[in-house]
Symmetry: C2
């Protein structure tokens, strides 16, 4: 352990995030000291990939490490932190978007290390395109975490607890809700025997534009231009899909009121 | 005019769609006979690009043409069709997603020619990636329109009036509503002083997945997994944004009920 740099890390949790993070750190030349999983076989599977020790007992987490990353479910972060012996010389972080870092305050140096992306099993993440949001309870720890994040890519951000929670919330909007709209379209079209593929190029173009321009400036559509006639036509078409009719109404109202 | 192929076309309307369609037909070697716009200068501007006659009087539309394309606002399609002398030997189509082709039935051969994409001023459309949906009131006309569409690309579809209206409705969902969700995220983040760019890579990945997989099979998020605790946390965060809180609730409910 040095004073200014993170050279060693222990990863708690061998799920999607833990598994990929351990391999990332290893590939960056950072010493992976231990991998923990409640299930020993998972810990071993992950530890073997990064040449390190597997453990399934939190009391065995060693204090001689620069960083301890809790990549476990939101619900158990506090509990796991409590079971780890007080880490006097390490920074302990979690990777959650929505949990306050306060749950780690048993330890003197704590913070968050939040990679904002969806992780898919069996698909190696493209770390060059994953923003890393960090925070810590001291400028010194913050600096160390930022330096580590900068080794991963140039999309590193220092944000506070509240901002991270808002990011997580908006990740739901931009990921889960957007995908749901595609599900809705897929469902309505299939019930009318229309090939969903017809819509894909439009969605592709929509995404491209939203990525390259300011979304609020490129908004179009019946709700944006106050075209009540078309909106009513669409609501009539959706009369057999009351749930989607309500969704259509809600989104249209939200668009109109945004531009009032 | 030949019996089996569309070799000549007149374009009514010199707006975005008319302007681009006229140039497309011209580039495909189809004879553009006339361009109409209410404003003579617009008709001339467009006609000059395709070496043809500009008109601003619908009674002057010539009948000696294989296809007449009405690329005018939904509201005036019926009216414009009425003003054109009965076209005995041409197919007349409109390019609208939501208007019934019945409004063209004064003419013996009619249908629709619906390119499903957002058109942007000053940006030439990428016709290779724009699905063309056609319909007509006879198999013979349908065949001719399909052959024409096939010259543009291999994304040509034959759909009926109702299906086209559902496509148009879902284009609103997949384009306007998706963009609005980006606007919402942009707004919430900016009010919390968080850089919107942090979210862009996630949206990029979301779009990529929705394009390459079946959206209903890759749905994730708190609503999908019934994680009420996170949903409540997000609703609490949105307490100062009642409109977005309602939107969040509505979309979450829609997701949960889809997977019930």
């Amino acid at each position: 352990m040095t004073n200014n740099q993170i050279n060693s890390v222990t990863v708690i949790g061998a799920g999607n995030v833990g598994f990929h993070l351990a391999q990332l750190f290893f590939s960056l030349g950072i010493n992976v000291i231990q991998i923990f999983s409640r299930k020993m076989e998972n810990a071993i599977f992950c530890a073997e990939k990064v040449n390190t020790e597997a453990i399934n007992d939190l009391e065995k987490v060693k204090g001689e490490v620069d960083l301890v990353v809790l990549a476990v479910n939101d619900d158990v972060i506090g509990e796991v932190s409590e079971k780890i012996p007080v880490l006097q010389n390490s920074i302990i972080v979690h990777t959650s978007g929505s949990v306050s870092t306060d749950v780690l305050k048993k330890h003197p140096h704590y913070g968050s290390f939040y990679p904002l992306q969806t992780f898919t099993k069996n698909t190696p993440p493209n770390w060059k395109n994953i923003p890393i949001c960090i925070s810590a309870n001291s400028p010194k720890s913050e600096k160390k975490l930022l330096d580590l994040a900068n080794k991963i890519n140039d999309k590193t951000y220092q944000i506070n607890d509240k901002q991270r929670q808002f990011l997580h919330l908006n990740a739901v909007i931009v990921n889960n809700f957007v995908n749901h709209l595609m599900v809705v379209a897929q469902d309505i079209l299939s019930k009318n025997e229309v090939d969903f593929d017809i819509l894909r190029p439009l969605f592709e173009e929509t995404a491209k534009k939203a990525l390259n321009f300011s979304p609020s400036e490129i908004q179009t559509g019946p709700a944006r231009r106050g075209d009540i006639k078309t909106i009513e036509k669409h609501l009539e078409l959706l009369k057999d899909f009351p749930q989607y009719q309500f969704l259509y109404k809600t989104l249209s109202k939200s668009i109109s009121s945004f531009y009032l």
